[in-house]
Symmetry: C2
Subunit: 460 residues, 2 copies
């Protein structure tokens, strides 16, 4: 049992470590990451032994029907190339560019009064995740790379694995060489009991950003229980709109991939909107494409009629009449709602009202319609003739993904290292006061400072 | 009396208008702002007549001692150049660069699969402010310029003035010429009764960002009553640290200006930290400089002793012994707490623990100490040899200020138009699905797209 006081002290330690991390150099971060990779390789057997304990408990739960076999699979660190991929991932993060210390504004307010805006770590991150123990390593490495301290709370199924990985991380931070490059071991913290979450969510003086990764229930619980900013998404209700000037092959390809490439993902499409002018020309081909891949359709009256009159009796068995709530449902399986709209505007309004502002696609050959859709749909991703499944940090080329955000502030869409930094204004003067400026006194210059001069001034 | 339903409908209308504003062109915004300026000039008499009604009520309140005379002054739109400044301010906003439609990332994922990150409006802003009626115009103009709809809630003292200004804004939006450039009149909404705030703070499906401007109580109430992201700051506890290698003239100038330039502002300094090595050499000059300007000092034991032994008896009357709570107090008047620290690290720790992460300054001639301070102090502004009073959107050269933020996400420090935009990912394809990529299939290119090509592609 961990007391509220112990949890508070742990968060406070993370905050103190985060102040040191604010000025961690790229060399320090790299030394830490390389030592982590090295020690994880050395301790492979110990980690897998701990993992085995979790797997043994999980096996009993699976047999008793209390745990799914897919969760069991995600828990297992020993299969295939998983452990090597984990080690390789650490080096991948090491190779990413440092997101801190970037100068994003530089203004000469006056001679000898220079203002710089410089990216810096957010502070202390709280990550709450389920099942996959490798998240402990991945997130800790991204936190270190971005100069943040991190408090990790994993699922109870992975207790032994998480603890073993965490101990390797702490030891690696303590034994980084050369020692003068070492970062505080307190930079990474692990909590394991569920009631500690409630305590942590109250500690907004120590924790700067909460990132829940897991079920909709988890995300909603975190969002509604804390004043700490939350980065994430509870829903992933993505739509594909097939415009009247859509190309049939693209409509089929985009819709089918959006639905079936990985139906359980948040960027899989749940709703298909079809312009009423293409109900008989394009919709049947899309319906056939989806049904061939095992998708069940829930269609509104007009689209149902168009599909049933075009498809064979055996194909039609997968199509039923939609209920209102189907257009607000994240199926996360091979089911898709189909709705007829009479205009592009109606499609946009439907998406903005029923969607989750995650990722939505239009299929059209008309550039003006595409621009209207991409401009007016209020989502983190608006796509023209491309599958919603591209919404992913690795596909976007970020090299890493912390999560996907449907927030309307800070970071939106797939979030890489950039989402873990903020900025700070630095002002370099010679003793000036604001009272020296104004009517009849000195005037502000507000001139841009050259990139070279700025870089020279703002050393890490 | 406004019902909850009416307030909800109003917020919903703002949301609908915000979807149109998402694609508002620079020409549309400019037409709206110019029409607002024109109509405000035309309706000056009507606005001032409404303002007079508020002033008459306020005068009674001042006489009864229920309202301060400074608040009365801030209410008055007729004095001096105030109305002309209001008109000029609208044109100033018109001249600022459009913060939306900026391309901040462009990556070729594959041939014919182009990803762009483009800045876009946040959506619907809720601004809660007190007293000064010109805020109605200033904020509405900044909202229009950044493509956001806005719901305004002003103080009850300014009810008539706010309503009159709001009606001019709505009429200007309805009568913008040419008519095809007009933006929805629903883009700007006004609520006047206090109980509507509680309703609005629950409407996170319609409101994207809340900005409370006013007392600490107001900001804290908003922060603790809503799931909507809040941009602002409850406290402004800024500090000046005088390092052992400080130059005495700079120490005096920076400390005195930070304290006395405008003591009621959030960027005024409240705490002076002095390195113990300069207690007898530099502190007396600072103390004398502050006392000459009418500042009372609350000094800890060591600094009190240094000051009293150096100052005359008459000067010393302004110096008393500090209590613990003085170092957590935002005085907002001519009072300053003075504390002795034995090292730069102790100063940094004190500021990170007791400060409000707003703006803090170091006075030193030592570049290494300055960099340490600016790197490790966790504040929106960290200054070297410059007054904390420079923390201001106009002084920074932003041309406008929505407010100052001590948030650790989204926007920090003085917030200009950039704080009112987010971004959206746009993906341009030819029908590709994510299933086409992976092991043994197509590979992602992740090549940067040239600025010219990106600009051509992502037209407003």
């Amino acid at each position: 049992m961990t007391t509220t006081d112990e949890t508070t002290v742990l968060a406070q330690k993370a905050k103190t470590a985060s102040h040191v991390l604010q000025t961690a150099s790229p060399a320090q971060k790299s030394a830490a990451l390389r030592r982590i990779q090295e020690l994880l390789a050395e301790r492979k057997e110990a980690v897998l032994a701990a993992n085995k304990l979790d797997l043994e408990s999980a096996e009993k739960e699976v047999k008793a029907g209390r745990l799914s076999s897919s969760l069991y699979k995600r828990l297992d660190l020993s299969t295939g190339d998983k452990y090597n991929a984990l080690l390789e991932g650490v080096l991948d993060v090491d190779r990413l560019p440092d997101p801190t210390g970037q100068i994003t504004l530089s203004t000469k307010l006056d001679n000898d009064l220079d203002l710089y805006r410089v990216t810096c770590p957010v502070g202390v991150l709280l990550i709450i995740f389920e099942a996959r123990p490798e998240v402990v390593v991945q997130i800790s490495c991204l936190a270190i790379k971005s100069g943040n301290a991190v408090i990790l709370k994993g699922g109870k199924e992975a207790t032994h694995s998480n603890r073993a990985l965490f101990e390797v991380l702490q030891e690696a931070l303590r034994t980084t060489t050369p020692a003068d490059l070492a970062l505080p071991a307190e930079s990474v913290q692990l909590v394991s009991s569920r009631d500690e979450i409630a305590t942590l969510l109250k500690l907004d003086q120590f924790i700067d950003l909460a990132i829940p990764r897991g079920s909709k229930q988890l995300v909603q619980y975190v969002q509604s229980s804390t004043r700490i900013p939350v980065l994430g998404h509870a829903d992933g209700l993505c739509s594909v709109y097939v415009d009247e000037s859509a190309h049939v092959d693209k409509a089929v390809s985009v819709t089918v991939d959006s639905k079936i490439n990985y139906p359980a993902a948040c960027n899989a499409a749940e709703t298909l909107l079809v312009n009423s002018n293409v109900l008989s020309t394009i919709l049947p081909a899309i319906a056939r494409g989806l049904i061939e891949k095992g998708v069940s359709l829930r269609a509104d009256e007009r689209s149902l009629s168009a599909i049933t009159s075009a498809l064979s009796e055996s194909e039609r068995t997968k199509v039923t009449a939609a209920k209102e709530e189907d257009f607000d449902t994240e199926f996360l399986e091979l089911t898709m709602a189909v709705k007829t709209v009479d205009s592009l505007q109606e499609a946009v309004t439907h998406i903005n009202t029923h969607g989750s502002h995650h990722t939505d696609a239009i299929v059209t050959e008309d550039e003006e319609s595409a621009n209207f859709f991409m401009g007016r749909v209020d989502a983190a991703g608006t796509y023209w003739n491309a599958s919603t499944r591209f919404a992913d940090g690795f596909r976007y080329g970020f090299g890493a993904e912390i999560g996907v955000s449907t927030n309307k502030t800070h970071a939106r869409g797939p979030v890489g290292l950039e989402g873990l930094v903020l900025y700070k204004y630095r002002l370099y003067g010679k003793g000036q006061g604001a009272g020296m400026y104004g009517e009849g006194k000195r005037k502000y210059l507000h001139e841009q400072i050259s990139v070279e001069e700025a870089r020279k001034r703002v050393a890490q």
